[in-house]
Amino acid sequence: MNLMRHEDLRLITGNGKFTADWNLPEQLHAHMIRSDYAHATLDKLDVEAVRDAPGVVAVLTAEDVAAAGFGAIPSGPDIVGAGGVAQKKAPLPVLATDKVRFVGQPIAMVIAESAVQARDAAELVEIEYGELPAVTSAHDSRAPDAPQLHADIPENCSLTFESGDREAVEQAFANAARTSSLQIRSQRLSGAPMEPRACMAAFDEKRNVTVVYTPTQGVLGMKASLSAVTASEPESLEIVAHDVGGSFGLRGGCYPETALVVLASRRLGKPVKWVASRGELFMGEWHGRSLTLNGEIALDADNNITAMRWDDEIDLGAYNCYFGGFIGSNNLSVTMGGAYKVPALYMQSRLCFTNATPVSAYRGAGRPDIAFAIERLVDHAAAEHNLDPVALRRQNFVPADAFPYETANGTVYDCGDFHAVMDKALSLSKYDQFEARRKESEARGKLRGIGLGYYIEKSGAGGAPKDQVMCEFDGNGGLMLFAVTGPSGQGHETSFAQIMADGLGISPSGIGYRAGDPSQDIIGNGTGGSRSLYGAGSAFKNLVTRIIEVSQPIAAEQLGCPPEQVTFGDGTFSGGGQSIGLLDLARQVAPADGSPHPMNCEAHTVTGANYPNGCHVTELEIDPQTGVTEVLSYVSVDDLGNIVSPELVRGQVHGGVVQGLGQAFLEQIVYDENGQLLSGSFMDYAMPRAGMVAYFHSDSYAVPTGLNELGSKGVGESGCSGSLPSVSNAMMNALRVAGVGPIDMPYTPARVWQTLQQAG
């Protein structure tokens, strides 16, 4: 059986093990009781009827959480704001105490013998809410008379952040020959991994360990958050995640339900399992994006960009959870000048609370948003001042000979060749011949547009001191690899095996990968910031060298010659006129008594962020009769440094781009004025489906980075950063011909059609 990825066999035959697929003897089932109101006091919570319902074993409320000494959900790093003011934070309690602040906020957990019994029992709860006015946009929540979500946080403002040089930017605008400004909205989204989140905790009394089955992006990150929330020693928790059905940043840390099943299992001495419904996820899983970026650009008489200025409004939702704060501050500032040499940069942002689901990292976490905003602004300036958008970019790109390049606010782009990447994208998309195609569409009554986006983003710097990896040989020619980073579809098992196979000259088929195995005491970063391949992957590249080093004397002994005479090549050690394959050597020297294999070793790398970048070109056609837009062609050229698996990289680009198309055309979380969630299912939250792009060509132009041993740059999130601007610029290009626009995402048929009506 010849399969492309190691992961594939179990997944295509229905033998994957996602969290809800686990069933343990005597397991109990949990169901959440959630707030029906966006903003209310919890005046009465009576669970007596729930407790008495058939099959119910326990009901957990905030009192149980407090009695167990649990903390709140991690609220993310403490970000220092403008003027050195500390961030004001409101962490999400595991269960609501005196107030609820978003529809879907967890209030109680019902545990029963069956899932349907728990669900039926939950309906018997008696809650009295003291309804309060709700505010669901950052813009409204910062108004002086807005309802206050948190008593100790005035004006619903968690943080005012700034970066760059305000005076230099003001000077540049004062002296500018021409300026442009644009408001760019990146709407609130639901990441919507296809696997409904689930968790199960099984307290093992003998070992005094609670085994927790849950999706993760890496066992260490989940363990850290869960041990903090449950006030447990990390050693008392064991995290099990076999297959994870997508995460996109949302499932790296524990949720209230994860902590609650731990509590329940410890108290009841039985496994407790919880599986979300999709409707619960729309309310109760962190949302993504939800930013408004007000950008201004200044050009001199020769059309050099002299400054960019940003005034941003960030919607955190009702509480600070995990990455929300980072998105609206650091992630917007690091690359706020984009791929351009801009001498003066300044941003300020205001992070606001709203009566909505908390926002955290969703594929890109602010970086697609700023890339999108910059490229929209550049195109807008070109349109307003009658400049060619390609020429304007060409003139202002950081030139290929200027690297390493330090931006005006201190970010160092280590390498790149933006001109070459853009030229390749323009050529592949036949950009220069667009006008003829546009006329052809026009003859058929359609509006055709072409647009490009040049993004650059900072990939994950990683919080762990190093990325450590280990290996174990067995007696059968097999090699097992260990690291921390947990997959959710990226193909870790395949990439890492390929790196080892390529380096050692052996077949990848006998090489396995285990993420976060409890038998291994290693540190490293979980999946996040697109760094698994260049982080852990670089460590695996180093492991290749270590394995050869460690094995050399062992091979020498087998070959009966001095170690200095042993050479290695093509998977084989040679010396003294003899040779032995690496895996044959491993078989030979495998201890019979089960003690550690002598060739086992570890390696590591220390590497921070790098700067993937690329040029994406979208060509689309709008039907003015219906407002429906067809994406005719999508061309992406990405500089991802050295590529290990072109197929896996293309898969990541496809996935990221289409998530971007989802945001551009379809997706939006909608609340009414009372904070009721209107987009609560896939009926109302429109998702991309097959056939969304007629023609997709994903290509690359590698400028290898010296910042890690593979020379690779992070690909996972880059698709979003390229698609939002290229699609949006193509839309505006098409609409401009009709004399209308710009418009905000999502470019639904209704919105596009209505906009075109204004053209008269």
Binding site: M1, L3, M4, R5, E7, D8, L9, R10, L11, I12, T13, G14, N15, G16, K17, F18, A20, D21, N23, V116, D120, A192, P193, M194, E195, P196, D243, V244, G245, G246, F248, S277, R278, G279, G489, Q490, G491, E647, R650, G651, H654, G655, G656, V657, V658, Q659, S681, F682, M683, M687, P688, R689, A690, G691, M692, V693, A694, F696, S698, G719
Partner: protein, 162 residues
């Protein structure tokens, strides 16, 4: 609140079997919980996503959109029963792997079952037929590009096998 249970007779993946379920139990849940066939996935609660797609009496159905009791007497194939024999794969399964048409794998069982049915109805599907045939299946990871390639590759492989 109904908790009547009744006997439902099914043939699943070639095996005649009898389960006891409440009237309100969805077929998807019966397959997963009563029969332990967890390859069929539940991805949503409004029958949009297609992760639960199985074959019932030869036709693809979303097993979340019917009750187990409605399937009494039916012949069901789930993803676990698609491969022709041990150590072999159905052409659609092979094509999905070859074309990298899966990443996390959660939508994959339903996507494969829907594809098998699509190719039964349209052995040489056009782009439009593929788009329509998979309109009931949502994938968040792949962006569909490689899934569409997999459908075409499987179509060719199946035609070649005739």
């Amino acid at each position: 609140m109904s908790n009547n249970t009744r006997t439902v007779n099914l043939t699943v993946n070639g095996n005649a079997t009898e389960i006891q379920v409440e009237d309100r139990t969805l077929l998807a849940d019966a397959l997963r919980d009563s029969l332990g066939l967890t390859g069929t996935h539940v991805g949503c609660d409004t029958s949009q996503c297609g992760c639960c797609t199985v074959h019932l009496d030869g036709t693809a159905v979303k097993s979340c959109s019917m009750l187990a009791v409605q399937a009494d007497g039916s012949d069901i194939t789930t993803i676990e029963g698609l491969a022709p024999a041990d150590g072999e794969l159905h052409a659609v399964q092979q094509a999905f792997s070859d074309c990298h048409g899966l990443q996390c794998g959660f939508c994959t069982p339903g996507m494969i079952m829907a594809t098998v049915d699509l190719l039964r109805r349209h052995p040489s599907p056009s782009d439009e037929q593929i788009k329509a045939g998979l309109a009931g299946n949502i994938c968040r990871c792949t962006g569909y590009v490689n899934i569409e390639r997999a459908v075409k590759a499987a179509a060719q492989a199946l035609e070649g096998a005739q």
